[in-house]
């Protein structure tokens, strides 16, 4: 099953909508709760990253009996130094975003912690692609 969502950069009022719908679908499919928890954390962080950093993006969630595959593609500033971005506590989020309690530099580490496979590809001034795989069985 494929689900796809369009994400608008800066639209914090809708942040989490995709994660919420993917969660609902996985529940309906009877996927194990521990798997759903990991998908939700990883997807929410990646979704918020698009909202907080990019201009716009697309999320595709492919659900099969074996795995959940999430692909998030955005048009945005990209990540010039991925190693730095992966460092817990490092963030380039704006002051406004930080005051909301985002931008603590925990997003990518949270994704890493919950994904079985995590690929990050970024071109500065163009955009970022994130691929997350979480095994079901």
């Amino acid at each position: 099953m494929d689900l796809s969502f369009n994400i608008q950069g800066g639209d914090f009022t809708s942040a989490g909508t995709a994660s919420s719908q993917v969660r609902r679908t996985l529940k309906e499919l009877g996927v194990d709760a521990s798997v759903i928890k990991r998908v939700v954390v990883a997807l929410y962080e990646a979704e918020v990253n698009i909202v907080a950093h990019a201009y716009k993006g697309e999320i595709v969630a492919q659900i099969s009996p074996e795995r959940v595959f999430l692909k998030l593609t955005d048009e945005g500033p990209g990540i010039p130094d991925i190693e730095k971005a992966m460092t817990p506590g490092y963030s380039t989020a704006s002051q406004e975003v930080r005051e909301m309690g985002f931008g603590a530099g925990m997003g990518l580490p949270n994704i890493c912690k919950n994904a079985d496979v995590f690929n990050l590809h970024s071109v500065p001034n163009k955009g970022t692609t994130v691929e997350i795989t979480i095994q079901i069985s």
């Binding site: 914090f12 009022t13 942040a15 989490g16 994660s19 919420s20 969660r23 928890k37 939700v40 954390v41 929410y44 962080e45 918020v48 909301m100 309690g101 985002f102 603590a104 925990m106 997003g107 580490p109 949270n110 912690k113």
Partner: protein
Amino acid sequence: MTVKEMAQTLGLTIFTGEEGLEKEIEGGYTSDLLSDVMGYADAGYVWITLQTHKNVMAVASLKELAAVILVKGFAPDEDTAELARQEQISILGTTEQAFELSGRLYRLLHP
């Protein structure tokens, strides 16, 4: 212990989400960083925070938290309260600071 029993014992204001008051409490987490809660809180936890915007309820719902307690006299934003009603998760409040309320809740859950 249910959210309702906790609210009564700790003298908390009930802002919204009356439907969520019968939820069982499994633990607590105190943080104002959403990713921190996302990564480390667990289902059935009570979240103590001073953040009042709508994303708090998105996180609370995704993590299946039992309730949210706003400290220092903060009240939920209107769209936050609306989402809490939809998700049937109570938002409670106190004039106390996070440190004090966390201490009292901890003692209540670990007597």
